[in-house]
Amino acid sequence: MKLEEVLDTAILVGYNLLRNGAEIYRVEQSIVYICTAYGMQEIEAFAIPSSIVVTISDGRLSMTKSKRVLTRDTDLDKVDKLTDLSRKICRELPDYDTFKKLLQEILNGPIYGKALTYFAHAMIGLSFTLFFGGNYWDGLVGGMIGFSIALLTGFMKRLRANLFFNNILCGFFSAFISNILAIKTGLFHADKIIIGTIMLLVPGLALANSMRDFISSDTMTGLSRLVEALFVAMGIAIGVAFAMKFV
């Protein structure tokens, strides 16, 4: 493979790993391993959650490429498959076209259907309402709110609203409905329902990842993810607070 093809291969793998929610050290390591496997010297890979910069040299010429990572979501199946791919590349050293085909196969990989995802959201609302000590009626309401949050988030995504506003809205919705139901009927525990449904929005992945970034001494990434998580938490808090003042 030529210098630029190696660079492209490495950065594409790194970009897709980062896009789908891998840790920073995994991204940087994959890039370094792939370039080393193709016999490059002087590999400098630098990644933060929003961009990647890689410089490699074949001893004569050197080349740099940077890639911005604008949208990110969590698709852990793809992270798993991409990690396998980068191991495979290091083992078999495929040429550029074969690599492209393999990558495309992974990117077109299966995702769960829409109906199942909505159902999963409802089940999360239900399970965690019960988990935090609500009764079965609370669970039912929690399930319905979870389902509505899924719909709401989908709608906001289509509007391209930012995440902060989405969290405020979802927090507000959850607290508003459960408070009204609790006051009007007296059958439900509003606090248990709110806690259970908010679990859908809480940035668990960002928090766990930021801790793991701190461990592998990627302090920049750790900080940026921590702040991201705090902002999400703040959005939820503002939404819930509004609703509780309102009712």
Binding site: L76, T117, M123, M199, G204, A208
Partner: protein
């Protein structure tokens, strides 16, 4: 006693179910989905079991997060899958949603003293969980390092012996 056991078990099952559904949202597929959701179950079992010995929430959260980190790291080796897949779902039941919410509720009600109290407590829980992850990851890294080191030393010794034989 029996009733308490039943309630604890039920809670663990809800934790498992919640983690499983989070796995679907995060698009984890195949057997990994089951193994990683089982992490949520393990985390809450560890939490409750620790509660029998040391009934203090902060210690319980710490122990649970150590257990889940070790579970995830070993599962990652066993299933040849990135650790994130397991750690994310395992951590889900440990998110201290309740005390975050009550902090805010007290704040809105104007009970600042109480809010401060619960808030600091929440922060302590979050710190305990973070410390748990940190310590467990460090232990696992140490373990891996020592294993590779021993293997390398063995290898070198064998090479040396072979050299002598030749």
């Amino acid at each position: 006693m029996l009733e308490e056991l039943f309630r604890g078990l039920l809670q663990c099952i809800w934790a498992f179910l919640g983690s499983l559904c989070f796995g679907i949202v995060f698009n984890i597929r195949g057997k990994n989905l089951f193994y990683s959701a089982f992490g949520g179950f393990v985390a809450w079992v560890a939490y409750l079991l620790c509660g029998i010995v040391v009934p203090e929430e902060i210690v319980q959260y710490f122990v649970a997060s150590v257990v889940i980190s070790i579970y995830s790291e070993s599962m990652a080796v066993y299933r040849k899958t990135p650790v994130t897949v397991f750690i994310v779902l395992g951590m889900v039941p440990l998110v201290p949603g309740g005390s975050i919410f009550y902090t805010m509720q007290h704040l809105i009600m104007g009970e600042y003293q109480l809010s401060y109290k619960v808030g600091v407590y929440t922060f302590a829980i979050a710190g305990a969980i973070a410390m748990g992850i940190l310590i467990a990851s460090f232990l696992v890294q140490l373990f891996k390092f020592s294993i590779t080191n021993i293997n390398q030393k063995k290898h070198k010794k064998e090479e040396k012996d072979n050299g002598k034989a030749l």
